[in-house]
Symmetry: C2
Subunit: 144 residues, 2 copies
C-alpha cells in the first residue's frame, strides 16, 4: 500500500511517541488523584457503565487479565473498587465502584479540559485523527 522504507515506520514510531507524550500530559493531573493512566481509563469505564466483569472491561480497554488483575487489585487496595464473584457464573468477577471510587469522579471531572487545552488541534483535526486511529485499530486487529 505504500513504499516500505520510511513512512509507515515513521507512523508507527510517531504513534508510539505520541501515545507516551499524551499519557505524560495526563500524569500531573492524575498524580493528584493517585491514579495512573490505565487506572484512570478503568475508572472512566466504571463511572460510565457501573458494575462490569473483568472480561468486559478487558474487551473495552483491549487489555487481558494479566494486566487487569493486578491493576484492579491496586484500585481495590486504594479503596476505589470492590471485586466479587458473579453469582450466576462463578468464573466471572464483577468489578464495581465503592463510595470513594464514585466520589473520585467529581475530582476527576476537570481532567479532560486540562488536556484538551494543551493539545493544539482544531475540532476538525481531532475528528480526523480519531477517524484515522480507528481505521488503524480496525485494520490491525482484523489482521489477526
Amino acid at each position: 500500500m505504500v513504499e516500505p522504507t520510511g513512512l509507515e515506520q515513521m507512523v508507527c514510531f510517531q504513534l508510539y511517541a505520541a501515545s507516551r507524550a499524551m499519557t505524560g500530559l495526563y500524569r500531573p493531573a492524575l498524580d493528584a488523584l493517585g491514579l495512573t493512566y490505565p487506572q484512570y481509563l478503568a475508572m472512566r469505564v466504571l463511572w460510565q457503565r457501573g458494575d462490569i466483569t473483568v472480561r468486559d472491561l478487558g474487551t473495552i480497554l483491549d487489555l487481558d487479565s494479566g494486566t487487569l488483575s493486578p491493576l484492579l487489585k491496586r484500585l481495590e487496595t486504594q479503596g476505589l473498587v470492590r471485586r466479587e464473584r458473579g453469582t450466576t457464573d462463578e468464573r466471572t468477577v464483577i468489578v464495581g465502584l465503592t463510595d470513594r471510587g464514585t466520589a473520585l469522579r467529581d475530582q476527576a471531572a476537570h481532567v479532560p479540559e486540562r488536556i484538551a487545552c494543551a493539545v493544539d488541534l482544531t475540532d476538525d483535526e481531532f475528528a480526523q485523527l480519531h477517524h484515522l486511529l480507528g481505521k488503524v485499530r480496525a485494520s490491525v486487529t482484523t489482521t489477526i
Copy 2:
C-alpha cells in the same frame, strides 16, 4: 479548543490502543529476529546513523537512560551492539554496531513491508496521520 467531555479523551485512548495494536503487529516479525519493538527502533537508528551516544539516541527515541541503559545492555548481551566510553568526554557512552548487529539489518529489511500491507490506509491517509501525530507531539512536548 474542544468540548472537554468525550472527544479528546477518546483520541488519547485511541492513541494508546492504536500504538499497542501496531507494536503487536510488529511482534511476530521481530520475534523472528529476537528483538522487541523498542530494541528494533534503537537498531534502526544505529543502522541509519552509526555510532551514537546514549544521550543522542535518547533524544531521537524520546527515551531516558533509565529505559535505554538496560535495553542497550540486553542488545550488548545478544552481541548486536558494543558500548564504550567516549574519549573526549568520559561521561558519554558511545553505542555502535557489531558485525552481528550490522548483519541483522538485511534480515530486518523485509519487516516494514509486512507491516505496511497489514495497515489498511492510503498514502494520503498515512501522510495525514503522520502530520497530525507530529502536531500532537509538538504541542504536547512544548507544553512542558
